[in-house]
């Protein structure tokens, strides 16, 4: 018999048909998700004790006055983020879940709209920022308007769902730490970036910094996020919707 025939082997060939093989899309659709919000507390500035003077009758006295006044066009949210990473289908069935721990990384997004087009999120442009200021009743020359608050282009890159926001591409700011203003650069903590979607909805993106010393000059108080958002100058109270994107 030929050598090839001598070398024939007995083996099992398993012809297997995998039918109805379903799989989850490889590029996970990972848009920011609506967050569950648990209110903890709020606080505001106490009224300052007024200074006083006593001057002689018939005198004209020149004085300089200084005040520290609570800004009533902005409000802030601070706190902690927890979450779960899941592999879930469109019917909300999970094939697997991972506890993301007490302090995941990612971002907290705040917007006055409950429906954001995350697939087309981008840096907020000047036109939209001006419309936002007008909508809220901000004066364009005010020191505490949106332009003067988000006055930097110095932030880290981050992902919003499938969109990558490039480093220092958008207007941004950073909230205070230890009762002191930070230098707004790539190393700043609690960076906050101005974004918008295709419907010109402004989104305030606060980058999570896990268990970080807060705006308080208090080493014991730590938060995962700090975010400032503008409110209506009028008596109307702005409602903000919270979204979270956690990444491990």
């Amino acid at each position: 018999m030929k050598q090839t025939a001598r070398n024939m082997k007995r083996f099992f060939v398993l012809a297997v048909i995998l039918s109805s093989l379903f799989f989850f899309v490889r590029l996970a659709s990972s848009e920011p998700e609506g967050a569950t919000v648990a209110y903890v507390s709020n606080t505001t500035k106490n009224a300052s004790t007024p200074d006083s003077r006593t001057d002689a009758k018939g005198t004209i006295t020149t004085i300089n006055l200084n005040t520290l006044q609570q800004d009533i066009k902005w409000k802030a949210y601070v706190g902690n983020v927890s979450g779960t990473l899941v592999l879930r289908d469109s019917e909300d069935y999970s094939i697997y879940e991972w506890a993301a721990g007490g302090s995941p990384s990612g971002e907290v997004y705040l917007a006055r709209n409950s429906s954001i087009d995350w697939t087309n999120i981008r840096c907020a442009n000047q036109s939209v920022i001006s419309i936002e200021e007008t909508t809220l009743g901000f004066v364009s020359t005010a020191q505490d308007n949106i332009n003067n608050t988000f006055a930097y282009n110095n932030h880290t890159s981050f992902d919003v769902g499938t969109v990558t926001i490039a480093e220092s591409s958008c207007k941004n700011t950073a909230t205070w730490m230890n009762d002191t203003a930070q230098t707004v650069n790539l190393n700043a903590l609690f960076q906050e970036v101005l974004l918008m979607d295709t419907s010109d909805h402004v989104v305030y993106a606060s980058i999570i910094n896990q268990d970080t010393a807060s705006y308080k000059n208090d080493s014991l108080t730590k938060y995962d996020f700090q975010a400032i958002v503008p409110d209506f100058v009028s008596a109307t109270i702005a409602t903000y919707y919270f979204y979270v994107e956690i990444t491990g």
Partner: protein, 256 residues
């Protein structure tokens, strides 16, 4: 008499020779899946997670606790059915006999390598292989959905990989969900490797219970033969460019 004896001997030699065409030197290794049929894709529905709102007065600093849910960027899931045929073929694929198997038992293997060394399969060793493989999938040690965080158990039955036996409860393992819940009864998954440290995702086909022709329900309350997690890199690169490349997995099966 002599000629009869020689005839019988010759016949015996022919028989023996013919039987050597099917020498019991069967290469018993998992075989590549002959056909993979793609079904529907599905991912998390963000509309099921509407944002919540809270009111606060201007001039206030409000403390909140936020809880979020996020779809993992490091894993993808497969599930489905398995059918197969056990056959007795030669190297030229000529079939002497075959047996259709409607509900086969065995294992499914998925790997990014096309030529695993099935003769030298072993448990995945976190000490030496975790770092390079997590780097391959762009996972960091801090990720809560990394490889070791996922395969964080050593609970599994005995598994026979070709001719090599993996003893019970010796390899990293995990279980995928049943009916949307974590459980440790069905759909177990093991982490194996070969002699070249190639990572092999392994799951046991869910017809393991003798005499039980009913598949267990899977993660979505529908019966399946298997569920399988494989790692994927869905993160962005340091330069900020989103990784849109896909990872090709090769499927092997070992059915009985």
């Amino acid at each position: 008499m002599y000629s009869k004896l020689m005839s019988r001997l010759l016949a015996l030699l022919v028989i023996l020779f013919s039987s050597m065409l099917f020498v019991a030197n069967a290469v018993e290794v998992p075989m590549g899946a002959q056909e993979v049929t793609e079904g529907a894709e599905s991912t998390i529905n963000a509309s099921n997670y509407a944002a919540q709102s809270i009111e606060a007065y201007a001039g206030n600093i409000s403390q909140l606790t936020l809880r979020g849910t996020g779809q993992t960027k490091h894993w993808q899931g497969y599930y489905g059915e398995v059918t197969g045929t056990l056959t007795l073929d030669d190297a030229a694929n000529w079939t002497l006999y075959d047996w259709p198997v409607q509900e086969p038992t065995g294992e499914i293997y998925a790997t990014v390598n096309t030529t695993p060394d099935w003769i030298n399969v072993q448990c995945f060793d976190f000490a030496t292989m975790q770092a390079p493989w997590e780097a391959f999938y762009n996972m960091t040690p801090l990720d809560s959905d990394g490889i070791n965080e996922t395969f964080n158990m050593t609970t599994h039955p005995q598994v026979v990989v070709g001719e090599y036996t993996i003893l019970p409860n010796t390899c990293p393992s995990t279980f995928t969900h049943v009916n949307d819940q974590f459980q440790t009864e069905d759909f177990v998954q093991l982490l194996l490797s070969d002699s070249a440290d190639r990572l092999i995702f392994t799951t046991i086909i869910e017809n393991k219970d003798l005499g039980n022709g009913t598949d267990p329900v899977g993660y979505n309350n529908v019966a399946h033969d298997f569920q399988l997690l494989v790692a994927e890199d869905g993160t962005s690169s340091p330069g900020g460019v989103r990784n849109t490349a896909t990872t090709t997995y090769y499927f092997y099966l070992d059915i009985q």
